[in-house]
Amino acid sequence: MTEQTKPAALTRRGALALAGATMGSGAITGFPTLWAQNIRNVTLRQIGTGVSGLNPIAEQVKKDLGFTLQLTVTDTDAVAQRAATQARSFDIADIEYFSIKKVYPTGALQPIDTSRIKLADKIVPIFTTGRLTPDSAAGQGTSPFSVGFVESRDAKAFAGKRTELMTLMPTVYNADTLGIRPDLVGRPITHWKDLLDPAFKGRASILNIPGIGIMDAAMVAESAGILKYGDKGNMTRAEIDKTIAFLIEAKRAGQFRAFWKTFDESVNLMASGEVVIQSMWSPAVTAVRSRGIPCVYQPLAEGYRAWGSGLGLMRHLSGLELDAAYEYMNWYLSGWCGAFLNRQGYYSAVLETAKANMSENEWGYWMEGKPATADILAPDGKVMEKAGAVRDGGSFQERMGKVVCWNSVMNEDRYMIQKWNEFIAA
């Protein structure tokens, strides 16, 4: 599983890093662009989730930039854990904003100098001002903006406003809701509380990643009128107790078939018909549909729970490798990658460059909520949606505009996790 190199031997990478460090520190001057040749020999090791740890991206990096991007894919919790504890075992963390709230203060990452990110000003305002449009609401929870910037290189606290230093360079984000099997639910699904409908006893599921699952649970609880939260993204102990109590009650009543932790588990639960309504991620819905099984990413009256992730630079990166990492981040925003991610049903951080890399039909379907004028193809060329199809939930503005909360790390995090474990063990 791990791809660590032997620590003792001075590897080629090590030598390069050394050389890079010397050059970076300005010890060697006089041949400024020589390293542009060496960059081909660089390997950047990236850890992330299945969301964006995709091989086509690594292949395109090799093609466009010349260096090697080595991907390790694991689950959300494991990414955070390895970033915090084995920071040297990789170079770039593709990590979620709510995880970064925990990981950044450990000092494992170095801030990103926005002056080296060419399109920094073009990034969607959700990340730079905290609001999609100047008059839209900010959304509860750990929003990317609240943990997106720091004041100085050594700061451990987040700035809470835009500065020159970003903690993560935003890559991909989305608005999540419940996925359903329209052929098996037998009635229109309109609210989060429908997850608790006794009609779906033993055929519902919720995800078992505490920071995300608790938010889905909160959406359900609020929708069902069980309780009203001051701030879903930062619950009090009493609110946590009540939320977990209602989850345990539903579990004991046999409402849930299973709890899932990884993308593929959610796909299998849904595709096999074990579950007909559950927390889901957008591409998982696509994956179920591409097997010819009907599945809808159902927009709900209360709005969406959103998440975002980005690329973080590990503290040890320097010199040539750091340059390569900045090249990579600039490339990420430059269009190809954005188009690639948008086609999966996610959203990319800089929209206009992505648009330039998508056909009018694709842009209309994925981003504007228009009916497809021709078949929509999956990245591998298979037909994903027939002409005339409309995206669940509609346009970018409609979906991201209805975000009411973000995946969160709360002040009462330790208590929440303890209670969540009680729910799982109950």
């Binding site: 689950d75 919790d77 494991a78 955070a80 854990q81 915090a84 504890t85 925990k102 203060p105 450990t106 033993g202 599921s205 078992n208 505490p210 579990k251 849930f256 078939r257 299973a258 709890f259 899932w260 932790k261 299998n268 639960l269 096999s272 018909g273 074990e274 790390v409 995090d413 330790r414 996790i417 303890q418 474990n421 009680e422 799982i424 063990a425 109950a426």
Partner: protein
């Protein structure tokens, strides 16, 4: 010089064990007394982690559940393993056949653990092969829900995984039983059950002991099987530890690990008191 020789011979192994077993366990014990917040470990000497282990009814439940899993799995694998070994050792006479059948017992280990567990889903699921076959044959009207994502599924997977660990040591001890003892038993007028109870079973005790240690220790420490087969609906101590590690609550996980280790060591010690496995060696 010669007095030191045995010590020197044992030194390399002792050194390896000290470095890679004792030191890490020592570290776990140390960390279990640390304090922590959501960002980092705080070196300290606090008892909160242990207090949380012993004070929470959920932990007690989880420990009981784990022991229950281990006990049930032990019973089933022992029953299955004993008769499989009996068949291989006493019924099959031909050495080649015995070998072939023995290799067949290892079939569950020919694929990765994870794939085997995922493969249970299409078999046991609501619309899985078994349910479809039973409904098709008219045995049941509604698909059986308890087959997958339940304690039944967990035990089933454990039995499937660990029966071999019971078969091998029992088979080994059975093959060492002097066949003349069985003849003598028959000559002395013992029937099948009496021979089994008074001759074979006592002589198999070391094998049963070793098999039991394997199965109990493996089940007590498991987390992947419980999570996947119960669909996250059940918890075991291993799963609890793995969750805590995933959430970077290392001291809590360490405290649980220490308690689990103590518990498993006690169980093994109890087994060793009942059965002298050295006869086997």
């Amino acid at each position: 010089m010669s007095r030191w020789f045995p010590w020197l011979q044992a030194a390399p192994l002792a050194l390896v064990l000290a470095c890679f077993l004792l030191v890490p366990i020592g570290l776990i014990v140390v960390v279990s007394f640390y304090d922590y917040d959501s960002f980092s470990l705080i070196p300290d000497f606090v008892l909160t982690n242990y207090r949380e282990v012993f004070a929470s009814p959920v932990t007690w439940q989880t420990y009981l559940k784990t022991v229950w899993f281990a006990g049930l799995t032990w019973l089933v694998t022992l029953a299955l393993g004993f008769w499989l070994a009996y068949y291989l050792a006493f019924v099959v006479q031909d050495a080649t056949w015995r070998m072939v059948l023995f290799v067949l017992c290892t079939v569950p280990f020919w694929t990765s653990n994870l794939i085997r567990m995922i493969a249970w889903v299409p078999f046991l699921g609501r619309n899985g092969i078994l349910n479809n076959a039973l409904v098709g044959a008219g045995v049941i009207e509604q698909p059986l829900e308890f087959l997958l994502f339940s304690d039944f599924a967990v035990i089933l997977a454990f039995v499937h995984l660990y029966t071999l660990f019971m078969v091998v040591p029992i088979f080994n001890t059975m093959m060492r039983i002097d066949r003349r003892l069985l003849e003598a038993a028959r000559d002395a007028g013992a029937g099948f059950w009496q021979t089994l109870w008074c001759v074979i079973l006592p002589l198999c005790k070391p094998g049963i002991g070793i098999g039991s240690i394997f199965v109990v220790v493996l089940v007590m420490g498991d987390f992947a099987t419980v999570r996947l087969m119960s669909g996250g609906q059940s918890a075991s101590v291993g799963l609890m530890i793995s969750n805590q590690i995933g959430l970077m609550q290392y001291p809590a996980a360490a405290a649980n690990a220490v308690v689990l280790l103590a518990m498993v060591l006690l169980l093994v010690a109890a087994m060793l008191r009942v059965i002298d496995i050295r006869k086997e060696l």
